[in-house]
Symmetry: D2
Subunit: 382 residues, 4 copies
């Protein structure tokens, strides 16, 4: 019986790993130790922990380590605190392996605590290219990890090229695609978004004709966050199509973005936009599946939307370098270009894409984790 500590630090990471958590939880040879940390615990970033509890997963430990402060120093310190706290958690839980997800700055804390404590480290979503600070973190975690469960063939190639043992690199596809597959199976919007998620604004006549916006600040361009979001707001405002707009998650600069939205809202009458703080993953995917287009820079556009065939207007550099399907149009931070891209996207034909897997990543991951040799020593393969 292998004890597998899965550390989830943010709402978006949870949907990236949910079916893997479920498969570990249900696997006869694995014991799940779910550790919830950082913004996944915080109200103003959507309290992802509530969804985990609702999904029936027992929480083994909660780690509060987000230091307040709209600056990069606070981000760095959040990681330092994460190591202090997670090392105590790992000492108590004594997992046989630790699983860390993707590339957010706090995930480095998980990787370091596990590595230094000689616990085999499993990394999900290594080998991808994005062109921001996350890129550094992601590849550094690859170098600390002992088992790589990647989401695409190109990612696999890259991880191996970086010097990892090919026997330790498996392309399982991305667990987020598993959720998209579930949504496609039962695709009708079976809930009232206003009733279930509240939010500000009450748009009308949207059912068959709406778009969705989710745009995160780009960490390394901290000061420009506010301008970036302003261009998108302008474009969407002018289009006057019913719109669901989601607040971004925590990051240095998120305040620039948030302020931009708030101030725009105060200065403009925007009756066709409804703002949500967050939404449970499945409901969100279903909302996307039934939408005309997703606008912003979320990786959900590259991954789940590709698999579901939903058109995406991808703004700016955040997804640079990520392999993408034909559903995506890239534009820069320019309201006119954004507007035009939306207009052409909402008329596109839908084409499915399998770059990020076939819908059973979670199960594959659990099987590999249950049967592969787990070790914490490794050497460069050249």
């Amino acid at each position: 019986m292998r004890k597998i500590a899965v550390v989830v630090t943010a709402r978006p990471s949870y949907s990236r790993v949910k079916t893997a958590i479920r498969a570990i939880h249900e696997h006869p040879d694995l014991e799940l130790q779910l550790v919830v940390a950082a913004s996944a615990l915080l109200d103003r970033y959507g309290t992802a922990v509530k969804y985990m509890e609702r999904d029936g997963f027992p929480i083994a430990a909660k780690v509060f380590n987000v230091l307040e402060g709209e600056n990069l120093t606070a981000q760095a310190k959040t990681t330092g605190l994460g190591i202090l706290e997670l090392s105590s958690v790992f000492e108590r839980l004594e997992p046989d392996a630790v699983m860390t997800v993707a590339d957010r700055f706090e995930t480095m804390a998980t990787a370091i605590a596990a590595s230094y404590m000689n616990i085999p480290l499993i990394h999900i979503q290594g080998g991808e290219i994005t062109g921001n600070i996350d890129e550094k973190v992601r590849h550094a975690i690859t170098k600390l990890s002992d088992l790589h469960l990647v989401a695409s063939e190109k990612a696999k190639e890259r991880v191996i090229k970086m010097g990892e043992d090919p026997a330790k690199v498996h392309n399982t596809g991305c667990p987020s695609i598993d959720l998209a597959e579930e949504v496609i199976q039962r695709s009708a919007l079976d809930y009232d978004p206003f009733e279930r998620y509240g939010g500000v604004g009450r748009i009308k006549d949207w059912e068959n004709n709406y778009i969705v916006v989710l745009q995160h600040p780009v960490t390394t361009e901290y000061a420009e966050s506010r301008n970036h979001i302003g261009e998108t707001l302008k474009a969407v405002h002018e289009l006057n199509i019913p719109t669901f707009w989601f607040w971004p998650n925590v990051d240095a600069g998120s305040d620039g973005t948030s302020k931009g939205i708030r101030s725009f809202r105060e200065q403009n009458s925007i009756e066709h936009i409804h703002f949500f703080k967050n939404m449970e993953g499945r409901d969100f995917l279903r909302l996307l599946y039934n939408s005309k287009c997703l606008i912003g820079n979320s990786s959900v556009g590259i991954r789940e939307c590709a698999y579901m065939g939903v058109p995406v207007v991808n703004i700016g550099s955040r997804q640079n370098g990520r392999d993408r399907g034909q559903n995506v149009v890239d534009v820069d931070y320019n309201s006119e270009n954004i507007k035009n891209a939306i207009l052409s996207s909402i008329q596109k034909e839908r084409i499915k894409d399998f770059t990020y897997g076939g819908g059973n990543a979670g199960k594959q991951m659990a099987d590999i984790i249950a049967t592969t040799e787990l070790d914490f020593k490794k050497i460069l393969q050249y």
Copy 2:
């Protein structure tokens, strides 16, 4: 005028970077910000900071972050604390770039604090292979670094293979070789080691016939440290050659090693061994240069001793994978094998080796740092 923060966390790292620090300090276009942290500040690991002050370098900040406790959790927490402290230091000093040395577990704190604060990171000694936990840390730091100043051609090849931009990888050789070159220029033992460094034991008639031992615990084999050191003690004890023995530096397991030495000393009459806590780098190299052989697992055997042509008996896995010259004989943790290897080594002819540079690494580094473009954004080169 570029401000370069160099973070030194341990005694051995200091000699690895000393000529680079000097060259930065003296360079007309660079301003040195020397940050001393972790065991480099602590008395029981040799207070490296005193040598820095004696060498005339101004100390910009001191960071105490070593958490006591002979276990891996404390190591992880030491790194967490390092991030908390170093991020404050960097915020105050506002360096144009941060330089981190090699691969000790605490160096990760430097790399993370700098990366998350969007400060370009310079890494010395990337691309080398050693086969222990340091290996993971070293390559992870490579993935966080923006400029790589490596010590050998093979290291350069490996760093580039890992996906780094070739334009950002420079083989300058190792600054430790610069010190070896200085020693060769004036090689006579010009000091009395007992008078200058005290220590326990008073060996006699050693001037023209002595060996040196320096053996560190191997982190990931924590529990075995005591046995490992026991084999070496047995071999050296039986040989009855005048011996200078150096205490290892801090690491989980260092207590196993230290206890092994203490208990051996209490149970045996060992008049031909003198124990030193530490020694200033130049004096140490001069002692090595005039010795018959170095025994243990220090990288000084692979690097400086190679350049100086001193025979080395390298014990166990700590230097596995490191490129080495003809001066090195590898043995396992077995007193008989160690004894035989020493006996044959002390009769070897000396041959110089240039694998790790030609003696002007520090100057080359400063010139590159002063003139190259410094950036904190990068992408994988494939």
Copy 3:
């Protein structure tokens, strides 16, 4: 020239100490080292640091140590982090004395860091009674402090009774009264609150007939915060008098309070209430001076309003035990009682009260600090 480090951790503490900071800054024998920490740096608690900069005080250090999380554990950790950070700051600034203000939970970090580093500690506002968790913290800080600058005669008596050396206890009055005195000198509302402070709501015809609300959560009754604020909201809503309502500052439970306000606002049409996030101290006092009544549990009601003769409806236990003048009516968390208390208060005649000093506390404090013997050793006086 004595270096005096003044540590300010929150917006309300700043007005409690502003004239003392100014007097230290201007004193020929003192050098001000202003350290800004915790919520005083954070946007969502009013960014008190901006007012300090605008008031012309140089900031010697900024300390981010607020850990996010709506729970008591996060509060405790915030204090732990404060000690880690402030000890580095004090080591660097080398103050001759550290001044800490009042009793907020983060001020303990200041007191401990200074005490353990053998730096004489000056405490402002010791000896007061309030009946909440702050009470413990305040008296514990008294026991760590070497010089006590208290705000009333009763406070002085209590501090001496606790075993402090009478020679080290001075009743200077409260610096907040200095600000009230300045306001009285020039009392007309000389700014447009909407224009200068924005906020939500646009009330009308308020100039000669308005009330002000400021109600903080009571830490040790965490879960009840939301109910508490609900009673006040109900009372004020029903009265239908033009109202300026201020958001509370950070504390466990502040989210209960904030949520209560938000949800009330969404469910009710409240055109006669305008919500402010915060206000610069002088403007706030001027607003109070010209108001009919202050409602809530802020100590500004007990102190500044007493000196200015403004009626106060004090709700619940937060100010329990504090000496108070005739301007205050105490009520429990009951909307009917609150409503009636407001109705009778707004018709009261104004009477000034000098319990908390005569308006020159800051200057007195600076003079004492400049001339008294500063020591960090003391013993119980019985």
Copy 4:
């Protein structure tokens, strides 16, 4: 069933609380949660945790928080780290009350974490006077504590005078006296100290004529530690009586003390002194009971030795202000005075003293804790 978390941070604290721990562990209405922290876990301070395990107490949590560094900043940070770690421990254990012992600088971390988390705090050994930095900490902890179990009538008076509710202050005597009573019951030295505790030196003919030395550095006189210990070493060296000398425990300055001892030992032939790192409490008391005299500044001289009637030469300021019996002679840091005091003490008649209790403090404490009302709210009693 009340869960009582007892936090022990150092070897000497353990004997101060051992019989209380045992009584809590055995009490039908109490559940012991033993938390071991700081130097109580560290090898170089005697690994008190081993004795706890040997005594059969289950360890609920271990907290590593000692930051290395021979300076006051590191002490302050150790406390900060203690809060970070202990708050997680308390969150997990959910104790009904936390018990903290005495006044060491790390105990403040326990007190703060418990107070801020609204957990009732029980303080052992409040109200005593000592005249050093511990004094501040001790009385500050009194102000944070909700239940006071003090060791003498005078201590009780002082705690009440400080404004605590008399109903919450109980004079139980000191649990250390319980251990002294057990030793008196069976007083013969029933073990071989060399065999059981090793140590350096092998003194002879000591059985009926030996003295014991235990001298700690005095925190606030950091730099002078080495001189202080030098005077004692000189006195004891000249007396030439068989001596058992114990290393001090951790504190800033302990290195001054340790270095003084080491360097004296290297420079002098001291065949009549045997050095111990530490000793289990009961064995230590038995050794004291059979000795001619205790020299140094340990509180064991004031407490246990008084009850056992053993003469004590108390050096310097560390025990200043503590109530003491006729067994104690006070001297300053002067080798001649120390020597004379020892000579006269070893000829004194033995007189028992009951100032610190009658030998059943532990049981009384457990009974009070099991039956008294536990609350975390309190107000000053004047």
